[in-house]
């Protein structure tokens, strides 16, 4: 689509610089992760991954993602729909707030929950009285992860839905469809690929999140360590092969996400928001 232009003068230099930076900062370290993980052979690679603590970390990571990603998908659709379809006071403020987790350090996203639900926090005493554990427990991890990944789905959908306009939904209504029918048969099919795209990015971040969860986790081995925290725990204990093995799982997850994302961009570019089109 974009016309190909012969690179003028300095351009080859910039291109070389870009490739160099990519190589040094991304390809080389990624290679090292896998090289280290497999340094002592495949058996030695698998061994730390089958340890109970590692399995627990993987299970916990999947659980947290399985809760926070659907929550964000629902929130994202609801937020995008209200923002793209309705005019109301404070709309631009709402859009800004949805973006906030992106511009805020993840540590803060974790810390707010400690301030609210920690033992010294606002609701700490009440929670203690009722024997509810949020901080240093799965629910805290879910809260922190959900907050950090909040913008992913909404940000994919808002521009697309604004672009598509409300006419198709209005047409469905005039043809006799109710609100739910319109949502399931018109709204959702029109945004399904963008939604999947947002969910994919959201999931990658949910599984890889470190900063926010490390604040609320307490890093109790086998109980509240997600995979990224597990990597850190192992690394601090000088269990390098184990650390790199766990890290390779995370890196592999990133690569799978990248492939799926590329397929989506390639196959369904027309149904993603304009910024994702190729």
């Amino acid at each position: 689509m974009n016309p190909t232009v012969r690179l003028p003068g300095l351009a080859p230099l910039f291109l070389a610089l870009t490739l160099l930076v990519l190589g040094v900062l991304i390809v080389f370290p990624l290679g090292v992760v896998f090289q280290q993980a497999f340094a002592k052979g495949f058996a030695a690679y698998l061994e730390p991954l089958t340890q109970p603590d590692a399995l627990a970390a993987i299970r916990l990571t999947l659980t947290v993602a399985a809760i926070s990603v659907p929550l964000n998908a629902v929130f994202g659709v609801a937020a995008a729909w209200s923002i793209a379809r309705f005019e109301f006071k404070g709309k631009s403020l709402l859009v800004t707030f949805i973006d906030l987790p992106f511009s805020m350090s993840p540590v803060v996203s974790g810390l707010v929950w400690v301030l609210l639900f920690g033992a010294q926090g606002w609701f700490g005493e009440w929670l203690l009285d009722h024997d509810i554990k949020i901080i240093f427990a799965t629910s805290g991890l879910v809260l922190a992860t959900t907050l950090v990944t909040l913008p992913f789905v909404a940000r994919e959908l808002i521009p697309l839905m604004q672009d598509q306009g409300a006419d198709e939904e209005a047409a469905a209504l005039t043809l006799g469809a109710g609100g739910w029918t319109t949502f399931w048969r018109v709204t959702l099919p029109n945004i399904k690929w963008a939604l999947l795209y947002g969910v994919l990015l959201c999931n990658a971040r949910a599984m890889g999140e470190f900063g926010a969860v490390s604040v609320v986790s307490g890093s109790v081995r086998g109980l509240t360590t997600t995979l990224p925290l597990h990597v850190e725990v192992l690394y601090n204990d000088y269990e390098f092969v184990g650390a790199f093995a766990a890290a390779s799982v995370l890196a592999g997850l990133g690569l799978v996400t990248l492939v799926l994302k590329t397929i989506l961009e390639w196959r369904h570019s027309g149904e993603l928001s304009a910024s994702r089109r190729h």
Binding site: D167, E168, A170, A171, L173, T174, L175, T181, P189
Partner: protein, 358 residues
């Protein structure tokens, strides 16, 4: 509110709009608009952009709630009905076809979303879709997606989809707006035939006066949210209620004049004032092709011909009248011999419209 029920027999499916007002924030889109459409009538809402015509159409569809006023269809309070219960077939300006559905699925949509008890069987739906495809002359395109159709084809799918629910009323928002001129003219005739065959009251929005005058039984002209005039194409064209309507419905030449004792005086030319002309200073409007040319010693407005240009069957004559440049028109044979560049002539507007100045 007390509402007089109109005579039942010929207003069975009549549309009655009374005192509709609607504002978006501080911007008033509709100001106390009242009008009626008779059963099976083809009514055009004509106006420039921002005149409120589309808003009025959306009020009829139920997509906007007016701030005040009443809408009745066949005596029923339309505003109390939700969009889905109104059974109006709406064709949107950009058609709003469901992009992920085939042509057949688009047309069938209104039937498939019905309550189970009212839903036709699969084969009935298929038959109905086939009938409609034939009606809109799109046989064989049922498996296409909207993105694979031309603009004219999309428009016809949108029409078929709207007709599938057997609407009580058809609402068309700039039905030809997104088409090129050639397709536009063809579809216009076709749409009118379709309306006559379907026999439903149709309201359509357009900013194109030619389209409105050509297609509609009656034309409602709106400006800045107000209804300016309602009448048959002939009525509004021959007797525009205001200078705005005169100007909007076609090309216009305007001059200042005075009416005194039933005589209209423009510059040094005097004639009988048209019936009902207001006394005092007036604005005189006439169509650039409704003029008679006379020799310089005859009666009429003194004019100097600055240029004559033949454009196909039409001739454009640039004149200076009373120090102002005007573009007059003549159609082929009616061009008086002797009207050439540099000549002084007299010009007599044949059917001037006179409006009080100010």
């Amino acid at each position: 509110m007390n509402f007089q029920r109109a005579d039942d027999t010929d207003t069975a499916n009549a549309l009655e709009i009374k005192g509709i007002s609607k504002a978006f924030g501080r911007f008033p889109a509709l100001k106390n608009v009242s009008l009626q459409a008779k059963d099976k009538e083809f009514l055009a809402l004509l106006g420039p952009s921002g005149s409120g015509k589309t808003t009025l159409l959306r009020v009829l569809a139920g997509l906007e709630q007016p701030d005040a006023g009443e809408v009745r269809f066949a005596g029923e309070d339309f505003l109390a009905l939700r969009v889905r219960s109104r059974k109006v077939g709406m064709v949107f300006q950009h058609y709003a076809l469901f992009r992920h559905m085939t042509v057949a699925q688009n047309i069938a949509f209104g039937l498939t979303v019905r309550k189970r008890s009212e839903k036709p069987s699969k084969s009935e739906i298929a038959d109905r879709v086939a009938d409609l495809l034939q009606l809109v002359q799109l046989e064989g395109l049922d498996k296409r997606f909207p993105s694979q159709l031309s603009g004219g084809q999309r428009q016809r799918v949108a029409l078929a989809r709207a007709l599938a629910i057997e609407p009580k009323m058809l609402l068309l928002d700039e039905p030809f707006g997104a088409l090129d001129a050639q397709v536009r003219r063809e579809l216009r005739r076709w749409l009118r035939e379709l309306h006559d065959r379907a026999g439903v009251t149709t309201v359509f929005v357009t900013h194109d006066q030619e389209e409105a005058l050509d297609l509609a039984d009656r034309v409602a002209i709106l400006k800045d949210g107000e209804l300016i005039q309602l009448g048959t194409p002939n009525e509004v064209y021959e007797h525009p209620a205001t200078p705005f309507v005169f100007d909007f419905l076609g090309q216009a030449c305007r001059m200042a004049g005075v009416v005194e004792n039933g005589r209209l005086r423009i510059a040094d030319w005097e004639s009988d004032a048209p019936a009902g002309a207001p006394e005092g200073p007036v604005e005189v409007f006439f169509r650039p092709d409704e003029v008679a040319f006379a020799p310089v010693d005859g009666a009429g407005l003194a004019a100097e011909v600055r240029g004559v240009a033949q454009r196909g069957p039409d001739v454009r004559i640039d004149c200076v009248i009373e120090g102002e440049t005007m573009e007059l028109q003549a159609h082929g044979p009616s061009l008086p011999p002797g009207v050439t560049t540099g000549l002084s002539v007299r010009i007599k507007p044949l059917r001037p419209q006179v409006y009080a100045a100010g």
